[in-house]
């Protein structure tokens, strides 16, 4: 399976793809525009977000993965997905990836 990370787009046969995720590393970038704020924002905008939050906490408690693996899974998602997914969408994609990689959910 070939994952696309940042600038790296091709896998040469026999070569291991360097994984240097950079899309998340945004300190100092200038292209993200004004800061949008929502007055009186609720903790979760949708019920599914709350479930993702609780699911992640439970899976961490169970030790299926640790917090650093979780952050790394978010960082490893394709750049366009990272830039366009909402906060809890990113969580969900990371959880799906980790569960697949660990053979918990095919």
């Amino acid at each position: 399976m070939v994952f696309l990370y940042g600038r790296w787009r091709f896998a040469r046969a026999g070569a291991s793809l360097p994984i240097v995720p950079t899309t998340h590393d945004v300190g100092g970038a200038s292209e993200f525009g004004p800061i949008v704020r929502e007055a009186g924002e609720p903790p979760f905008h949708h019920e599914w977000e709350a479930r993702v939050f609780a699911l992640n906490r439970r899976l961490l408690q169970l030790g299926l993965y640790n917090l650093d693996e979780f952050r790394f899974a978010i960082e490893r998602m394709p750049a366009d997905a990272y830039l366009t997914s909402s906060y809890y969408e990113k969580w969900f994609l990371a959880i799906e990836r980790l569960l697949a990689e660990k053979g918990v959910v095919p």
Binding site: P18, I19, V20, P21, T22, D25, G27, G28, Y65, N66, L67, D68, E69, R71, F72, E75
Partner: protein, 99 residues
């Protein structure tokens, strides 16, 4: 050694990040800073992110390092800015004498 630096030491962050997960932001790579606090020994997230167990992963000193923001962004400004980050021992080198 798990702790090479102490409060007040001048340090320089590594020039680039290696493969994998790490907690040194790119904007602070290769920058000169000062150790402002030493927080004890913590598991290295770079290893934990690869699934390495707490019992066997590297544990190193974690420091709060303070950087002059105007040096970080390489700009002249009369408005003082400092940026701090919490960095593991292996992200840092002793700072050589200023050129």
């Amino acid at each position: 050694m798990t702790q090479r630096f102490h409060t007040g030491d001048a340090v320089r962050t590594r020039a680039a990040n290696p493969d994998g997960h790490t907690r040194l932001p790119r904007y602070l790579c290769g920058r000169r800073g000062t150790v402002e606090a030493v927080h004890g020994v913590y598991p290295l997230p770079d290893e934990r992110a690869r699934g390495i167990a707490l019992t066997s992963c590297t544990k190193e000193a974690l420091y709060t390092v303070v950087f002059d923001g105007r040096e970080v962004w390489r700009e002249r400004s009369s408005e003082p800015l400092s940026i701090s980050a919490d960095l593991w021992d292996c992200y840092l080198e002793p700072e050589r004498a200023a050129k």
